[in-house]
Symmetry: C2
Subunit: 418 residues, 2 copies
DNA sequence: CTGTTAGCGCGTTCAC
DNA sequence: GTGAACGCGCTAACAG
């Protein structure tokens, strides 16, 4: 059906192996031969057979990027940044360099997440990047963790971006792990609040990792400097959601707000929990009384979308009409909140303040401009991409945390005097 | 390294062939044997080797979705819809049904578009869906067209979504080609009112379809029912950008506006051109004088993004301070325009009206709610997905057009009396 | 530097 | 209903 390597070889008067070498570019070939081969390729419009090549080399150039919601710019920005790193860059590493970076939309469903990972594993993907908060579920979390480890053991680079690192596979016998919920020390112990102890991740009955640590098949010739040694080789770029949320609430507190509503995301997402933790940390630090009200002032939406904000705001207003400020799970939710508030005849920020999270591009243009917390999504994505390709040494401990920055704008103001 | 079919076969006490048959599910296998095999698969955590399977079967389950900007919800919605069709649906077609639907971000660059197509061709993708307006470029367009035809000839289903159908490959000798820059005659000769006459499903100048039609290599054994026969087999779901734009401008005209600015997208995108055409059609139908001003009142942005709107609006104001309304290339651009206008101290819609296009989710929530044109993006994506999988018979002529609907909201109002 | 020789893991005829 | 071969197109040792 299609033209094959052999066809090209015949046309160029060389052997198939030579053509392969020319195309791979990672082997010395005489100048003249090379041009002849290249010309034959042109003339025949030859296109490598990916599956065959992948089979023979037992490696592919597929890189999967998993996102919860492809229609959400939060993920679009990260995914775009990751992809931008795949392009050409030719990090001195021989080969053609071009990876097929590809984004997979899980729709927030754990099952689809697993399904995609299986499909990617089936394709023997070169790398997989999981973006956004993880879903915490007693059944799903261990399943995900084990699948990820298997991927990593199979030679696929695994990068987590925007979620906490995987819990340790299992405490080594004798060395009691520091509580399942450990994280890079980005949080201060403070207030003893110590958010929800997370479901002690995948406690495997067998324990033990493969002794040798998976050897990367692509025998790295270049001085990676980095210690890919780190545990399973799964690296993570996590966001300082907690710290950002905390600063945001402190901002509101400083403005004088004392009755702050919170429209959170789905309860089982780590992002949701971390942001809520930060919020409560700030509340508790200010006064225990505020912390007590927090529960009642929090409503969980079913997703990080507009309608969650709209409905959540209405619910909040019903429960506690005297709220003077509302914090949203993210910017999109914040917009939904604004819409609901306006529909109720409330002015922002005169009657009520609203704040978001993420600082998506549209937030600065909203009317009024949205107070929010900026997350360097693009940078994080770039970093994740580099890590996935092994172009950058993994951070110490395998975890890098990117900071969140408060963006105080027009949607927040002191509460009304009455 | 990994567990293979043979391992599973051994464990189950059968031959590799049998395991393969069980997994493919498209062949009779004794009940007992099947369960034993399945159990062995479970126990060994066997995962099919995609490349090997693809090589042997010369087909893969990869489906590529190309988008211009992954951070733009316009594409996210379409891509998500396409993906949703890939899931399980098991359209009676034997096999496991699960496709690896995957989105590729071209960033609007023709080169990257071509690159991705090459990569997908290399993977022997089952289908490719190109979304969003095409880039019209004397060099790129033919290159793209020929690559798409080769893909289609190679057995990959090709679906265009949101762009015009490909021009006929080349007039048969004797029938002079309608000029390189041609397109399916979706435009009426202008001047003539000939309103929303829906782009007559690609009224090709020649009428005929390619006689032979490239024989599908995959000697189709299964009764596809559908007539994949159509020309190259490339089907398209196009948007009625022109009709929608026209109705939008008519709306403004009816409100009394006579000096309407237009912040268009990149000049070389078909979407840009189609929308502008519709705009001018309405203008011309109203009065030739308005049409004359149109050129001066149009500014092109470098992309369909916020800053194009912001900058464009400023430029427009500088050139023609007395504009009473501004139409944007799309909703995102419209938001940028609103921001610029507000920064200039203008109120919307009291001082100036603004309208967008697409009706993205956030548009209804903007302040004021944005007047725009709704495109059924989700439906279009679903349709494209079905077409790609051959689950739905291609529309007559290979072209389906989805309609655009005017959404008149608060951002447009009659011009000020002065 | 280049040709030869083996498989990579699976789908698919064939016989049985 | 099941097993035994063969080959998909390419890469990776080895020779030379």
């Amino acid at each position: 059906m299609a033209v094959t390597l052999a066809d090209v070889a015949a046309r160029a008067g060389v052997s198939a192996a030579t053509v392969s070498r020319v195309l791979s570019g990672n082997y010395p070939v005489a100048g003249g031969t090379r041009t002849r081969v290249l010309r034959a390729v042109e003339e025949l419009e030859y296109v490598v057979n990916g599956p065959a090549s992948a089979l023979a080399a037992s490696s592919s150039d597929l890189v999967g990027i998993l996102v919860h919601d492809i229609a959400d710019p939060f993920f679009g920005i990260i995914a775009g940044a990751v992809q931008s790193e795949m392009g050409d860059g030719d990090g001195s590493g021989g080969r053609n360099g071009r990876k097929l970076a590809v984004v997979c939309n899980t729709g927030g469903s754990p099952e689809r997440e697993l399904t995609y990972l299986t499909l990617l594993q089936r394709q023997r993907a070169a790398a997989v990047v999981l973006t956004g908060g993880a879903v915490e579920h007693p059944e799903h979390s261990p399943a995900l963790a084990s699948r990820l480890r298997r991927l990593a053991d199979g030679g696929t680079a695994v990068v987590l971006c925007g979620r906490p690192p995987l819990p340790e596979p299992d405490a080594a016998p004798g060395a009691p792990a520091p509580v399942p919920g450990q994280r890079a020390a980005t949080d201060e112990p403070a207030g003893g609040t110590e958010g929800g102890a997370r479901p002690g991740g995948g406690v495997r009955p067998d324990g033990g990792i493969r002794p040798g640590g998976s050897a990367r098949p692509e025998g790295g010739t270049r001085p990676d400097g980095g210690a890919r040694s780190e545990g399973s080789g799964i690296v993570t770029v996590s966001f300082d959601n907690k710290g950002g949320a905390r600063r945001l609430t402190e901002h509101l507190l400083a403005l004088g707000h004392r009755t702050i509503g919170y429209v959170a995301g789905p309860a089982e997402r780590t992002t949701t929990r971390d942001r809520l933790d930060g919020h409560r940390l700030a509340l508790g630090a200010h006064s225990p009384a505020l912390l007590e009200d927090a529960e009642r002032l929090t409503v969980h939406g079913g997703a990080y979308d507009r309608s969650a904000g709209y409905d959540g705001a209405l619910e909040l207003l019903r429960r506690t009409p005297r709220v003077t400020a509302v914090i949203a799970a993210n910017d999109t939710v914040a917009l939904g909140i604004c819409a609901a508030l306006r529909d109720q005849g409330l002015r922002i920020p005169e009657d009520i303040s609203v704040a978001g999270f993420d600082d998506l591009p549209f937030s600065a243009d909203a009317a009024p401009a949205l107070t929010t917390v900026r997350l360097p999504l693009h940078d994080a994505g770039v970093r994740a991409g580099r890590l996935a390709l092994g172009r950058q040494a993994p951070p110490p401990g395998g975890v890098a945390t990117v900071q969140a920055e408060l963006m105080a704008r027009a949607s927040t103001a002191p509460p009304r005097a009455d």
